[in-house]
Structures are given as structure tokens and as C-alpha cells.
Symmetry: C2
Subunit: 208 residues, 2 copies
Amino acid sequence: MKTDVSVSTIKRLPIYLHYLRSLPKEEHATISATQIASALSFGDVQVRKDLASVSDGGKPKVGYEVKDLIARLESYLGVNEENNAVLIGAGRLGQALMHYRGFAEFGLEILAGFDNNPKLFGMQIGSKPILPFSELEAYIAAHGVVMGILTVPAHQAQTVADTLVKLGVRAIWNFSPAHIVVPDTVVVKNENLAASLAVLSKQLQQKK
Amino acid sequence: MKTDVSVSTIKRLPIYLHYLRSLPKEEHATISATQIASALSFGDVQVRKDLASVSDGGKPKVGYEVKDLIARLESYLGVNEENNAVLIGAGRLGQALMHYRGFAEFGLEILAGFDNNPKLFGMQIGSKPILPFSELEAYIAAHGVVMGILTVPAHQAQTVADTLVKLGVRAIWNFSPAHIVVPDTVVVKNENLAASLAVLSKQLQQKK
């Protein structure tokens, strides 16, 4: 098992986990790297290399034990750790993320959304409440929240991030188009849609 | 001006463009790399290197002409090309993206959303209609659509992508959690939120 795993490998691990979990248990006690590669349209070599980060490798002619490989992926990705999150900015994108069911599969639980707009207070989005921003501090303290998801407008992003850090949040997933700065002790992942679009547009331009 | 620009640089170019556009025109005829770096919390060297991909460099003691730099970034990123897009899967995430105003700034226009759910037909999301999936072919042919945005469930993603490719769409921005495969002539950008979350959770785990 490797200790130094690349970000591109880590990004593919949830795809393997999702696929393995989707297999009917009766039919698939074991699976080969070739079968996985074929199902996901990945290369054989890449699959073997990726899975070597979490497993000691499949057995010759048998492959990986599915149950074991799922457990190793889950453990590596920490999906059973139940990271409690709050979401700040319960507008359209925020509400869409609160509804999104795919996160729970990877151990993320969005407990509540927070906003400044009184019209949203008391709303339930997929059984999760939207609460006033003024209640954020008490809520984070009471619920062991480790992650904040930012879906606020760009000009509010840094201020809200500073507040979250001050309240002890240790990870920020930033969907606002602003570039935010946090201390080294906090992890941040910027989900800049405009940046993604720029890459896509550029590739499109180059194909012309 | 460089011809071989890294993906990480391309991802930062929209951030520079957004920032330069936000400056009051009267006050900022020119700007230095140091000023830009300080405003965005980037390193000086990185800013100079990034901007060298689109500009021949600022003048000593004066810096870059803001208007010129904006024009070069716009041209490089192709933001004035008006890439027409359609969105497939007008559920919550799809509607949030249809509402998102930030894309137009980078030349992307989502013209319409398509769905199979009759309850959504005729709805207007930010003045953009939701239309039946059966009308997709005629719509793409009539409106010069170059890009398809996928916000369908995972199990429909590949089929819808195949349809878009067959109808002549040349770029696919995939927000579904499925891994999709397209011909070499088509560009694809996977926006896999579960994968992003995995990276973030892993980093969080490592900080513990």
C-alpha cells in the first residue's frame, strides 16, 4: 500500500467505490482490474496503479475481493467518519447542494443551511433547516461541525470564511467565485465554475 | 507570449480577468503584477508567469495597461465568442446553473434546459425555457449550440452524452457523478463533486 498518492488518483477512488457498491453482491465476490477498467472505460494499468494505493493487489486469476476492496476504499477515503457540515448561503446553488443525495455516500452530512434572508428562515430543504446566520456560532458549537460549504456571493466569501475559521471549522468547500485565503491549519477546496468553464472553452477553441 | 500554457494557469486566468474588470476605470489605467498579487493573495512570481501567457509583459515601473490586459485575457479565453449551450436535466442543480449569472461573463450562454418531466415544461428559469427532451435535436440544429451541460442522474449520463455528440455538440460539461466517454473530437470536463469531496476529506483526515 502506497503512502504517497496523487490527487488525480484520489479523485478517481470515489468512482471505483461508487461502481463497486453498485454491483449485485451475490454475483460479484471477486472482480479483476480488467473488469473494472472495462466497466469504467479506464486503462487497465491505471486501475491497477490506482487500487495499489489502497490494496496490496488482487490475487492472480481471481482479482480483488469486492467486499474487502470496498472496505479499503471506504477506510482510505474516510467515508465512514461522518463529517458534519453546514452550508452558508442558501440560495439556488446552496439549496441544490443541500438536496444532493450523493454526498452522504462519501461521509458528508450537510446538517443545515444558513442565510441572511428572513424569507428563507424555517424552510426545510430535504429535511434540513435553513437558519439565520446569527445562529451559526451556537450551531457549530453544538453539532461538532468540521466543514463549511460556501455558496455566498463573491464579495461575502472571505468574511464568511474568516468567521467559519474563527468558529473552529477545519475544512472549507468554496463554491463562490472568489479566491479565499485561510490559515495553514484549515483545508480549502475551491470549486470555481468559471475556471472550469475557462478550461473547457480553451480546449474547445483549440479543437477548432 | 507563450503557446504552451498549463491547465493550472488557465484556471487562474478567469480570476485575473474578473478582478481587472472589477476595478474602477478612472482610477486604474495601469496596474503592477505586485498590486494584482497582493489583491488576490497570489505570489508575485506566479502572477508575472501567468500573465506572460497572454501578454508580452508590463512596462518597467508602470506595469500593465489594464484595458489592454483585459482585452488580451478575453481574447485568450475566448470569452467574446459566445458559446451557446443547452442544459440537459433541469432538476435542482440544473436550475441553479441556469440561474447562475457568472457564466455570461466568460462567454457561455445557456439558452434552454431540457428534461423529461412534463411538470417542468414551459417553466422559465431566469428567462430561459425548460423544453421537452424530444425537442432537443431541432433546437440544437436551429440555435448553433456547441456545448451541452449534463445535470442528469448518473445512469442517464452516457446515453445523453452520446445523443449530444450525435447532434454535433462539441463540448460537454458533465456535472453528473458518472464517468462519460466521448470521441476525441469532443472535449469533456467532468465536474465530479464526490471526487472533490474525496480530496477535501482526505486532506482533512491528514491534518488530524
